[in-house]
């Protein structure tokens, strides 16, 4: 009736709505389930996904242990979200970019970033341990939801530049969806048809605040239609479906199909960080319940049943994990302190007179102390 508004097709609009139940390819007992329109990753991919989860889990356990020993300033574990982290990271194409949060250490490791570099932020050595351009990975983002806009901007830039082999994946939590930036990012992405995929890991909590106090929506995936993009609801503990759906969304983005919002239903098995006391706000029984849906175990059962994993392979995998953990422990023993002069190095392209003054003063101070 308004000649100026885009008339919309009801069918097309309805297609943007999520399914009633989260999509699954492998159920909690490790059994293959039917999921029309979504393909099970290849055997090779399934094995690779499993391997990355086992290594990711081992990395996460090691990082938690290092934190208890005082080696890290803080560590937000992603245990329980292994399938999201790994399924998403392994879906990235060679030119794609990833915009993670503080929670996504496992995804970064699965993405091929050196575990020690991943931990630079959390160890307190620097703000970002890896090379953003070389890894095509934004810094681990702490101000919630702000990374969504960076992702959209980069995706739009790629499109404007004519690089149709680039898509962008941004990770965020259920809590972050409440921030204004998430909304602005979703809206702008849809208007620009930017090649970006939003993967919300709904782990049930924003620190202590349960999802029921975060949103009254049927699901977060129901937000998609309000931006004119598909909203997809998936089982975030099924690495097969995470990988399959994220891959399809990235493909679609690269092909010019625009952005996708994916909500992966999962659970944070550990406290928010080592500094948090989760007993204040959730029942042990709830955690126990989710342990029965452990994503790594699910994948293991599925692969064993499918004949893609045997005792030897499992042993080898475990050994690989141990080796990696040992390497990480060694790396973390490096007591080298960051150079105080580095404080002034990258505030501006060239230090200002003011910074030169302060650098000289600090150098004098340190010389006196020495």
């Amino acid at each position: 009736m308004n000649p100026d508004r885009k008339t919309y097709d009801e069918k097309t609009a309805e297609a943007l709505l999520p399914t009633a139940e989260p999509l699954q390819l492998v159920d909690a007992r490790g059994a293959r389930v039917d999921c029309p329109g979504h393909e099970l990753p290849s055997d090779e991919q399934l094995v690779a996904l499993h391997r990355a989860m086992v290594l990711g889990r081992r990395f996460d356990t090691q990082a938690s242990a290092l934190t208890k020993q005082g080696s890290l300033a803080v560590y937000p574990s992603s245990r329980g979200q292994d399938a999201c982290q790994v399924g998403a990271a392994l879906a990235l194409g060679p030119k794609d970019w990833l915009f993670p949060t503080y929670r996504d250490s496992m995804a970064l490791v699965a993405h091929g970033i050196d575990p020690a570099e991943v931990l630079v932020l959390l160890r307190g050595d620097g703000h970002c341990g890896y090379d953003v351009h070389a890894t095509h990975t934004g810094p681990q983002c702490t101000p919630l939801a702000t990374n969504t806009l960076h992702a959209v901007g980069l995706a739009h830039a790629a499109r404007l530049t004519g690089d149709d082999d680039v898509a962008v994946l941004v990770l965020l939590g259920d809590g972050a969806t409440s921030e204004g930036d998430t909304h602005e990012a979703l809206n702008v992405a849809a208007v620009y048809r930017a090649p970006v995929v939003f993967l919300v890991q709904n782990n049930g909590y924003a620190i202590s605040v349960p999802f029921s106090q975060q949103s009254a929506a049927p699901t977060l995936a129901h937000k998609g239609i309000g931006y004119g993009m598909p909203g997809v609801l998936i089982d975030g503990n099924d690495v097969a479906v995470v990988h399959s759906v994220v891959t399809a969304a990235l493909d679609r983005a690269r092909a010019g199909g625009g952005p996708t919002l994916i909500e992966a239903v999962t659970y944070r098995l550990e406290a928010h960080t080592n500094a948090d006391d989760a007993t204040r706000y959730r029942q042990k029984s709830e955690v126990a319940d989710w342990l029965t849906r452990d994503p790594v175990e699910r994948s293991r059962v599925h692969l064993r049943a499918a004949g893609l994993l045997d005792d030897a392979a499992e042993t080898a995998l475990q050994a690989e994990g141990e080796k990696q953990a040992a390497a990480l422990r060694t790396a973390m023993q490096d007591e080298a302190e960051p150079d105080p002069a580095s404080l002034f190095a990258h505030v501006y392209d060239k230090p200002t007179a003011l910074l030169d003054e302060q650098a000289a003063r600090l150098a004098d101070e340190l010389a006196e102390q020495a």
């Binding site: 300033a73 803080v74 503080y102 932020l121 959390l122 160890r123 307190g124 050595d125 620097g126 703000h127 702490t142 101000p143 919630l144 809590g175 972050a176 409440s178 921030e179 204004g180 930036d181 924003a206 620190i207 202590s208 605040v209 106090q213 975060q214 949103s215 500094a275 948090d276 006391d277 204040r280 706000y281 302190e337 960051p338 105080p340 580095s342 404080l343 002034f344 505030v347 200002t352 003011l354 910074l355 302060q358 600090l362 101070e365």
Partner: protein, 335 residues
């Protein structure tokens, strides 16, 4: 001061918690809300036990949205309630900046006094706790540069209690900056001690050589410097500003006129920092009493560094004493 109300030893976090508890008990229009302030009791436990005691309509968790926290507080205050809201960390108050600057600070003025906003925005601020990036900003200059806001920061557990009660009672919006590195510092707290006005500075240590002007996290550091300074022959006066805006010119000018020298200390970067205002107004008022320009001892002019470098960033007693030593004691004319 009765001994009955005196609790000899309370951390600043406990003092704040007690202030909130007492305010909630005394005035049914007081509400406490923010991220994780309910069952968790806040990431620094400042709201510990409050929801349990007062119920989840008076103390509640919000969705994760700081602009919403401040913006809804404004609407609630318009309806007659007195919200006390928490921003989880300094840098996470920035999403609320538009609501703070364009509405919270201005609504009384914009409505010619029709709407008053008795809202307290509690912000744990500053560094020194080994926090990763965005968890240690000293953001006071953004608020003190905004007419219409009242900005206070306690330096002791007693002031944490007294100032927070006064801020909650205040008919104007108050930005309440909590020095997070001092949350665990203990001190005597007398809940019956109403203290001087919320807008007054106090002299924490009398001295004759020079005046150290500090607030929030740096009060303890300044006092430490003053103690160390004795051995170096300085008798330093330490003024705790308490109220950053408005500014207590009377107390500060009197001290600086007496000593003839002043150092202002804060964790924030120097350029455009709050110390510039302090230096400028002290100079305006005490120019002919000053033996040397007001010195500034501040954080470095860089983004707050990672934990392993923060000791180099932050002011410390040694840097304060260095600045004192440079206050032209020989009166050579060297500019």
């Amino acid at each position: 001061m009765t001994t009955a109300t005196r609790t000899p030893s309370m951390t600043m976090a406990q003092a704040l918690n007690t202030a909130l508890r007492d305010a909630l008990a005394d005035d049914p229009s007081v509400l406490v809300f923010g991220e994780d302030v309910g069952p968790l009791g806040g990431v620094f436990r400042v709201t510990d036990g409050l929801q349990e005691q007062f119920g989840d309509t008076r103390v509640f968790d919000t969705p994760l949205a700081e602009s919403a926290i401040v913006g809804t507080a404004i609407g609630m205050a318009m309806y007659g309630l007195r919200p006390v809201v928490e921003m989880q960390f300094d840098a996470f108050a920035y999403p609320a900046f538009e609501q703070v600057v364009s509405h919270l600070a201005k609504l009384r003025n914009r409505t010619r006094g029709g709407v008053s906003l008795p809202i307290v925005v509690r912000i744990p601020y500053g560094g020194g706790i080994g926090g990763v990036e965005h968890h240690s900003d000293s953001s006071e200059a953004y608020y003190t540069a905004t007419p219409g806001l009242t900005v206070v920061s306690p330096g002791t557990p007693q002031d944490a209690y007294t100032l927070l009660r006064q801020a909650i009672a205040c008919p104007d919006p108050v930005i309440f900056l909590e020095p997070k590195r001092r949350y665990w510092g203990k001190g005597a707290v007398d809940v019956a001690d109403t203290g001087p006005g919320m807008d007054r500075a106090v002299i924490r240590r009398e001295g004759a050589s020079a005046t150290i002007l500090a607030y929030g996290p740096m009060v303890a550091t300044a006092l430490e410097a003053a103690e160390l300074g004795v051995a170096e022959g300085y008798d330093l006066e330490v003024v705790d500003l308490r109220s950053l805006s408005p500014f207590d010119d009377e107390t500060v000018s009197a001290s600086v006129r007496k000593t003839g020298r002043a150092v202002v200390v804060h964790e924030a970067a120097s350029f455009g920092g709050y110390g510039a205002e302090v230096a400028a107004r002290v100079t305006e008022r005490c120019f002919h009493h000053l033996e040397a320009p007001v010195a500034r001892v501040t954080g470095l002019d860089v983004p707050y560094p990672p934990p392993k470098l923060e000791e180099h960033f932050l002011p410390n007693p040694e840097r304060i004493l260095d600045a004192v030593a440079n206050l032209q004691w020989e009166r050579e004319d060297r500019a």
